[in-house]
């Protein structure tokens, strides 16, 4: 997991797409529809545009510091103590984020599919798999997630296509009946989760081979546009299937899959959505664990990058089973507090941007004097 390990730009794009899509495709439609009602699709598009700005910022910093992870160049600019002050709250938030994703998967499985199994069994197996993946390194993750993200999108397409007979396009109306506030609320929610989490890629892009950076950035923006389109379609399909009650369906895609019934051929295919959620959550947990481990190693200048993976994973496991004892508390965290915490990730990013601009200006000022 050292800096000599590299991934191709295409693999980085797949990792990026895996991260922003992941489990969110099952979890996000419900809170966004609750917030923005029929205008939820528009909220998704607006937050996607904000996500592009976030990506532009991350890519700018990557171009300025192509071989360093975020914590390394932040320390070079601001010194060790200030870096500790900024990065430790970020690390704590990242612990919470990883624990939240794990708990989301556990809650889904225990509330819909395997109700009698203790939730910590799912958490333990998921985190063991993710920890082993992180120990295997970013190259293995990049190669494997390409296949998994294909399975996720294929499953989503399968569910949405077979649910076509149940769609009622009239349910999408009226649009913008409640003014701009619900749409702004939906935009805020979806920007916080998943677009502002793009910040994590400041610690991943340093592994990408830098010889083809211009071509590569186009595919990253393409990934966001594709993601926006898929999410907007999932949201619209959920509304068309359930109408006004769409806001009450917790795992929207799962609920859409439940209504599919082609007698004699396909029945009870909702378990297919379980595959989407398990694969998506596993990918996102792996990426979060990777960044968590890398940031901790770079922050404390550890030589062995793989050593903290297991203690971090065990800490995440215990946090995931102790932080929120009830589903409603966990749901409140995801929809009320987490978007704000995720948006606060922009603060260190903006500080790094300011530091980089000041550094570049100083260099430009010094260059003519030397001549």
């Amino acid at each position: 997991m050292n800096n000599k390990t590299t991934i191709s730009p295409q693999q980085a794009t797949l990792l990026f797409l895996s991260f922003i899509t992941s489990s969110a495709i099952v979890f996000i439609p419900n809170p966004v529809i609750q917030a923005a009602h029929n205008g939820a699709w528009l909220s998704m598009l607006l937050s996607g545009l904000c996500g592009m700005l976030m990506l532009a910022l991350v890519l700018y910093l990557h171009r300025q510091h192509p071989t360093q992870a975020f914590v390394q160049y932040f320390r070079d600019m601001f010194g060790a103590w200030f870096t500790m002050l900024v990065i430790i709250p970020f690390l704590l938030s990242l612990f919470m984020m990883t624990a939240n994703i794990t708990q989301g998967l556990g809650l889904f499985l225990t509330s819909s599919m395997m109700v009698e199994t203790p939730i910590y069994i799912f958490h333990a197996f998921t985190l063991v798999a993710a920890a082993l993946t992180v120990r295997a390194g970013i190259e293995v993750m990049a190669r494997m997630f390409g296949l998994l993200i294909f399975i996720v999108f294929a499953t989503v397409a399968f569910v949405l296509l077979f649910a076509i007979p149940d769609y009622d396009p009239g349910a999408l109306l009226p649009q913008f009946n409640d003014g701009w506030k619900p749409i702004a609320y939906g935009t805020y929610l979806t920007y916080g989760w998943p677009y502002s989490e793009i910040f994590l890629f400041t610690s991943i892009f340093c592994f990408v081979r830098t010889d083809t950076i211009k071509k590569w950035t186009k595919s990253l923006y393409g990934a966001i546009v594709f993601h926006m389109a898929v999410f907007s379609i999932v949201i619209a399909c959920t509304i068309m299937t359930f109408g006004k009650s769409a806001a009450e369906r917790k795992y929207s895609l799962y609920e859409v899959a439940r209504v599919i019934e082609i007698t004699g051929i396909f029945e009870r295919i909702e378990s297919v959505v379980g595959i989407t959620l398990i694969a998506g959550s596993y990918m996102k947990i792996s990426i979060c664990l990777f960044v968590l481990n890398l940031t901790a190693c770079r922050l404390f200048n550890l030589k062995n990058d793989r050593l903290p993976v297991y203690p971090i994973s065990i800490a995440v496991f215990f946090l995931s089973v102790t932080m929120f004892p009830t589903e409603s508390e966990a749901f409140e965290c995801w929809t009320v507090v987490w978007p704000f915490i995720a948006i606060c990730f922009s603060v260190p990013l903006l500080l790094a941007l300011a530091g980089t601009i000041v550094r570049n200006n100083r260099r430009r000022g010094q260059a003519p004097r030397k001549q």
Binding site: A35, P89, L92, S93, F95, M96, A99, P118, Y120, A124, D178, G179, K181, P182, A184, Y185, Y188, A296, F300, N301, L302, K303, N304, R306, L307, P308, Y310, P311, I312, I314, A315, F317, F318, L319, V321, T322, M323, F324, P325, C333, V336, V337, P339, F340, I341, C344
Partner: protein, 79 residues
């Protein structure tokens, strides 16, 4: 409680067994970071085994972020 305790012990034994050789070669700093992470997880582990609702990571983060987050949500609610 017994099952939870078993799960906890199994996880820690697996962690230490797989890291044993690396830990022997580690520097003091690496051991300190490893120990600190393990201690942090052990606190949450105690909460898990004993099923206690003591202060946790969410308590720290909520004390910092909850009130502005809730204020923002109130701003978006239709009056």
């Amino acid at each position: 409680m017994l099952i939870r305790l078993t799960v906890t012990i199994v996880l820690y034994v697996l962690m230490l067994a797989s890291n044993a050789s690396a830990l022997k070669r580690s520097s003091r700093k690496e051991l300190a970071v490893y120990g600190a992470m393990t201690m942090l997880s052990a606190y949450a582990g105690i909460l898990f085994v004993m099923q206690k609702q003591w202060p946790n990571l969410d308590t720290i983060l909520y004390s910092i972020y909850a009130w502005p987050a809730k204020a923002i949500i109130r701003m978006f609610k239709p009056s």
